[in-house]
């Protein structure tokens, strides 16, 4: 087909021919429809395949409820710790000048380039019952692997850079002068942080926490290795989804999956709203 039919008006020098545009737009919508939206629709369709009642009943089952509780508990511990780390790391990196800053940033980003399964493996090697440290901890009655601490550590590992990466560019951009001004006016460290720094970084912090939380609640690979998959005890929501799916309990598996998908959708909506309303307060990459 020739594009002359579409090309009635000459197009500007800085855009493509209408046919090329149409093809590119179709490619974008097609890719996302086929690979992203269709899977999402399937999750809800499968969950509701036996009706809403069946889906809700499967979520009320003891196994599902304990999985939901464990996932909330894990995220409830890991995400605040992660936020505290992110704030401390961003403060150290942006408020002080020291040697090895680039190395420190690289090390903070390291978990992004380590497979979650390898992360779990590392934790098993350090804290597993066969290791010196792990054996001692088990003897003290504080097992890490196949228990909550291991799940929390695995979650912390995979979400480690999230908050710090959001805060560092924002705090670099904002500079140090507002904090310096507070100091010259007699404010102490905590007052300076709470009354000057925190209000300036709060949206970026929320953004980082939002993404870290989504990842924390959904993490599978690293948690699968360290959890031991003990039903009702160390099975988080994603682990329970796997177990139910492998037992061909499709409605139960997809109902839990739908719950996590809803969390993902809420995360995306909040994230988009943040990008629209407070783009100036976020890292440059997230401004639309």
């Amino acid at each position: 087909m020739s594009d002359t039919a579409l090309n009635i008006r000459p197009h500007a020098a800085t855009t493509e021919a209408p046919l090329a545009r149409a093809l590119l737009i179709a490619l974008a919508i097609g890719t996302l429809g086929l690979f992203v939206l269709a899977p999402l629709a399937v999750v809800f369709a499968e969950a509701l395949s036996k009706g809403l009642g069946a889906a809700l009943r499967s979520l009320a089952a003891p196994e599902a409820r304990s999985a939901i509780r464990l996932t909330l508990l894990t995220a409830g511990i890991a995400v605040p710790l992660n936020a505290a780390f992110g704030i401390a790391a961003a403060w150290a990196i942006t408020k002080f000048d020291f040697r090895g800053k680039a190395l420190l940033i690289t090390l903070i980003d390291l978990p992004f380039s380590v497979s979650p399964v390898v992360a779990g493996l590392c934790l098993v090697l350090l804290f597993g019952a066969n290791s010196t440290l792990g054996g001692w901890l088990v003897a003290q009655g504080m097992p890490v692997i196949f228990a909550l601490p291991g799940i929390v550590l695995a979650t912390l590992f995979v979400t480690f850079p999230f908050v710090a990466r959001e805060l560092i560019p924002v705090m670099i951009e904002q500079g140090r002068t507002e904090e310096e001004a507070a100091l010259t006016l007699g404010a102490g460290g905590w007052r300076t942080f709470l009354s000057v720094t925190l209000p300036n970084i709060r949206w970026a912090l929320l953004y980082g926490v939002l993404l870290a939380n989504a990842r924390a609640m959904g993490e599978f690979g690293a948690v699968a290795v360290v959890s031991g998959k003990i039903r009702g005890q160390t099975a988080t929501m994603p682990i329970t989804i796997e177990m139910l799916y492998n037992e061909y309990l499709s409605v139960a598996a997809f109902s839990l999956a739908a719950l996590l998908s809803a969390l993902a959708l809420v995360t995306l909506i909040l994230k988009t709203l943040l990008e629209r309303a407070h783009s100036g307060a976020l890292a440059a990459g997230h401004r639309s």
């Binding site: 974008a28 999750v43 350090l126 300076t192 959904g218 690979g221 959708l265 988009t272």
Partner: protein, 278 residues
């Protein structure tokens, strides 16, 4: 005169912020990775080689890195096109598409795994269509490729999009006034500007795809020598309490990943040097 480790500063919180940062970095990241390296050291080079030099391990590593590179390469093209469409074109539903790009980031991998399987399995909606033309997607390499394409999709698009926004339109107009066709402008002027960011996205997508587990294992079929990815092999060795074997594969994955990322970094430095800072 030696430079001081930390430049003196009146900023408060030096001890506290460095204390928290270094303590958490050590406990959560460095000590566990150190344990892996230590396990490798006790095995020694020969022990490591013996643990890795098995056909099943080679097959898994080759499969993981080959398909990850392929998926990241496709994402390089798709992601750049997606970023271009989202940054430059206006069409109904653009904002929805823009938000949907991040779904693979937000959707838990296990959820993505069972959803893709349900969709592309022979009895699934799209898998059924594919079967009509004799194309089996789930439980083959195609399925693994599809899952890796899914998890890597946002990286390139999100790295490139802000750079497109920053391109000065006058550069494109200049190119046009000099007689270049649109295609020439895109390939000779725009693409070199986007390349460093696109490579960053490619590296991130590659790192993610190599280590991906949750979205792959449901759709892969997991047949040894054929559709068994390296991370799954680690899980299997751990379940058999073969810590040495698991550590050897883990170290091999880390080493190859870091070598690849390092190479991509060099490529990036080279392309940045050529065009200066964007």
């Amino acid at each position: 005169m030696a430079r001081p480790l930390i430049q003196s500063s009146p900023m408060p919180g030096l001890g506290l912020s460095f204390g928290i940062t270094l303590a958490m970095l050590s406990v959560i990241v460095l000590a566990p990775i150190g344990a892996l390296v230590a396990q490798g050291a006790t095995l020694g080079p020969e022990g490591l080689w013996a643990a890795i030099d098995r056909p099943r391990v080679w097959a898994a590593l080759w499969l993981s890195f080959r398909l990850a590179a392929l998926a990241a390469g496709c994402n390089l093209v798709l992601g750049t096109a997606l970023a271009w469409v989202l940054a430059r074109y206006d069409f109904p539903g653009r904002r929805l598409v823009d938000a949907a790009v991040d779904l693979p980031f937000a959707l838990p991998t296990a959820v993505a795994g069972i959803a893709l399987t349900a969709l592309y399995a022979p009895n699934g909606v799209l898998g059924g269509l594919a079967r009509e033309i004799g194309w089996k997607i789930a439980y083959t390499e195609w399925g693994i490729f599809l899952a890796l394409l899914f998890v890597g999709l946002p990286f390139v698009a999100r790295s490139v999009q802000p750079v497109i926004h920053e391109i000065d339109r006058e550069v494109e107009e200049a190119s046009a006034t000099l007689g270049a066709t649109r295609l020439t402008t895109l390939t000779r002027v725009i693409w070199p500007m986007l390349m460093p960011a696109a490579l960053t996205g490619f590296a991130l997508a590659l790192a993610r795809a190599v280590g991906e587990y949750g979205s792959v294992i449901f759709i892969a079929g997991n047949i040894p020598m054929r559709t068994e990815i390296a991370p799954l092999l680690i899980v299997i060795e751990l379940e058999e309490f073969d810590y040495d074997g698991a550590a050897a594969i883990g170290l091999a994955m880390l080493t190859i990943s870091f070598a690849l990322l390092f190479a991509i970094n060099l490529l990036q430095i080279w392309s940045r040097l050529r065009i200066g800072h964007v």
